[in-house]
Amino acid sequence: MNTESPGHRNHTLVVTVENKSGVLARVASLFARRAFNIRSLAVAPTEDEHLSRITIVVDGESAPIEQVVNQLDKLINVVDIQDLQPGHAIERELMLVTVAVEPEHRDDIVEQLDRAGGKVMSVGADSMMLSLVGDPEHIDTFENLLRPFGILEIQRTGRVALANLDETIE
């Protein structure tokens, strides 16, 4: 459920850029210079070797989203921008997390993890490293669940997203 007001919600922009050196810096510096806030950012090559895709979650409160899109579009290396509507996109994040856990509580965690759809990556004497892929809210929920155990280290990727299929077929 989206409880934020329409003008002020976060936006997920999928920005297709030329795969050239310095392009990420141009995008990042544009956000800094125009005082647009980035919530998260992920970048990787695409199916076409000349292109990369940057998924940017933009704080809709820092600037009107059309302004962000229009300014991004002025970057010569930006080829395409999609402003994904919540509910009409598939969004995923990956979390790697190491939690403190005594051997007698391991089963407890593994059970929770199974239910959430995660994996055990590594087991230490009194800690475990877990991984979980899911939509950002799902990851948030699981992260909160782990907190009481003691999170030793956590690393989340930025969000990646693609428009939902019914959305892309016209």
Partner: protein, 577 residues
């Protein structure tokens, strides 16, 4: 045909039709300077790289062609940062080529290395770091394409030495007569949406208090003639911003002149009271709007701009029209011709406008004999003694505002100034660039004493390269505009604004740079000095006009206040209830 990167670079510039470039060589760019000897491109050797950049800007503003500057790496690249930013804010087409350390040395803090593309990324429309000689022709073509199309702007091309140095195998390439642009992310759409035009026309037909709010985009789209047609067809009054002076003739009865912080009362107030601002190639700059929430509160907005990011950036338009200004105006004119301009009665509005014009003309107190010159008087005399198509290039400060206010601009491309960045030192190099582009026209720089001291050395360039510009130095011994703010908002506490009354000796300095120079103290000498200057064509001329330091630019909308609170000169205060 086999060639090397340096040769290919110069040939690529020739292929773009470049006739003149402004620059100064150094280590990293050396190999490119050798083929210049055999090129038909005229190279003008500047005395400081900032000068090269402003000259390229002045050339571009006067001719409409892209200006080209070439400098070496490191300190030369940083010296040209100011003109790049200036050109970016005023949307001036310019291509700057910088030398760079050899590719293998990039990132090692090599001698005269700096991250030129990193430094200039946010103040250029685009920049390139070329790493292969083979790419040079295509990149140059792309650079000119980007600089001159859509919303124009500066493009920088950074060239490492090894790919242009003929002794280095990395510089070798195969020259091809045709190269293709490959810019998948750059599309320019100049067409306009007919539905938006239709809506705009409806607003125009029904508006009771419309104003044509004209910005520099009109000049960029070469739409001055179409604008005249639109204004005459509809009978709507026109304001021309600092960037658009000359886009609509000042002598025309529909012209209200410049709006904004130092705009005239009628232009400021007419916008403020308007119910429709037909915004053409302007961008609601804070110097025009004053306090934004108090700006033209009852006006609907039509906003035409080639750059979609301008539509709604500052003020949300009722009818946004993305596209070329001239195309949009022509489309509006054609619909208006078919359907008429409407029957809205605007007599009341017109008489309010003429009322303001009568009560609040631009005024100053003339000087009495023996007193220092009034700067406005000097501008008026200069205006009256020069051909109507004289190009005026100004610096930044009080003198700039007086030049814009008191000149009568009746031709487009005759007013060249630094609007967006407000760069002191702009006028002399910009005037040189304009004169190079338009040698048949008279070119006057109107400069301040503070500005003059920032770039005067380019008068050496002007003399040596035979570019006879003229400089009217409005010398008030102060950083006058800053002094004015201290007078008005800091209880006349003058902090670091007094320059000097005697030093430098401008006449002697100008003479030492090869100029003909005069000093004028007395109002009676002004006309004669200007007449003498106008006769001289074999060298630059500098006239040091000693002007009154306490003179203020009026009207003024104080920073942070609304345009309804415009401050008028003391002699008009009784007119404002």
């Amino acid at each position: 045909m086999k060639t090397d990167g340096g040769q290919a670079l110069i040939r690529s510039l020739e292929r773009e039709g470049v006739e003149v470039m402004f620059g100064l060589p150094g280590g990293a760019i050396l190999p490119v300077y050798d083929p210049i000897i055999d090129s038909k491109i005229r190279h003008i050797l500047v005395r400081h790289e900032q000068g090269a950049g402003h000259m390229a800007e002045g050339y571009a503003q006067a001719t409409g062609k892209p200006g080209v500057a070439m400098v070496t790496s490191g300190p030369a690249a940083t010296n040209i940062v100011t003109p790049l930013c200036d050109a970016y804010l005023d949307s001036i087409p310019m291509v700057v080529i910088t030398g760079q350390v050899p590719t293998a040395a990039i990132g090692t803090d090599a001698f005269q290395e700096c991250d030129t593309t990193g430094i200039t990324a946010s103040i250029t429309k685009h920049n390139f770091l070329v790493t292969e000689a083979q790419d040079i022709p295509q990149v140059i073509k792309e650079a000119f394409h980007i600089a001159t199309t859509g919303r124009p702007g500066p493009v920088l091309v950074d060239i490492p030495k090894d790919i242009v140095d003929p002794t280095n195998p990395r510089s070798s390439l195969e020259w091809e007569d045709n190269v293709e642009i490959d810019l998948p992310g750059y599309k320019v759409d100049t067409s306009v949406d007919p539905e938006a035009i239709q809506k705009a026309v409806e607003l125009i037909q029904n508006a009771e208090r419309p104003i044509l709010y004209i910005g520099g985009g009109i000049l960029k789209s070469r739409a001055a003639e179409s604008l005249l047609e639109l204004a005459e067809l509809t009978g709507i009054h026109v304001v021309t911003t600092l960037m658009a002076r000359g886009a609509f003739p000042d002598s025309h009865e529909l012209c209200l002149g410049m709006p904004g912080m130092h705009g005239n009362f009628t232009a400021v107030t007419a916008m403020q009271e308007s119910d429709l601002l037909i915004t053409l190639g302007a961008r609601f700059d804070d110097r025009v709007t004053g306090k934004l929430d108090e700006f033209a509160v009852s006006a609907k907005i039509i906003h035409v701009d080639i750059d979609p990011a301008e539509l709604g950036k500052v003020r949300r338009p009722d009818v946004p029209v993305q596209g070329d200004c001239r195309t949009a105006i022509e489309a509006m004119v054609s619909v208006l011709r078919d359907f008429g301009s409407g029957n809205t009665d605007r007599t009341a509005w017109k008489s309010r406008i003429s009322g303001w014009q009568e009560r609040f003309p631009l005024v100053y107190e003339p000087s009495t004999p023996g007193q220092a010159l009034k700067p406005q008087f000097v501008i008026e005399k200069l205006r009256d003694a020069t051909p109507a198509d004289t190009i005026v290039a100004s610096g930044v400060g009080q003198h700039q505002m007086w030049a814009s206010q008191y000149w009568t601009f009746n031709h487009p491309y005759t007013w060249i100034n630094s609007g967006g960045l407000g760069t002191m030192g702009f006028s002399i190099p910009a005037a040189i660039g304009a004169k190079v582009g338009c040698p048949e026209k008279m070119v006057w720089a109107v400069d301040g004493d503070g500005c003059f001291q920032m770039t005067a050395q380019e008068l050496v360039t002007a003399r040596v390269e035979n570019i006879p510009i003229k400089v009217a130095l409005l010398n008030n011994s102060y950083l006058g505009m800053v002094r004015q703010w201290q007078d008005m908002f800091y209880e006349e506490r003058h902090s670091e604004v007094f320059l000097s009354k005697e030093i430098p000796d401008y006449k002697g300095w100008a003479e030492s740079m090869g100029c003909f120079a005069m000093r004028v103290d007395d109002p009676d000498e002004v006309e004669e000095a200007i007449a003498q200057a106008n006769e001289i064509e074999d060298r630059p001329v500098v006239i040091d006009f000693r002007t009154a330091a306490e003179e203020k630019v009026y009207p003024m909308v104080a920073s942070g206040t609304g345009n309804s609170d415009v401050i008028v000169p003391p002699s008009q205060e009784k007119e404002i209830r």
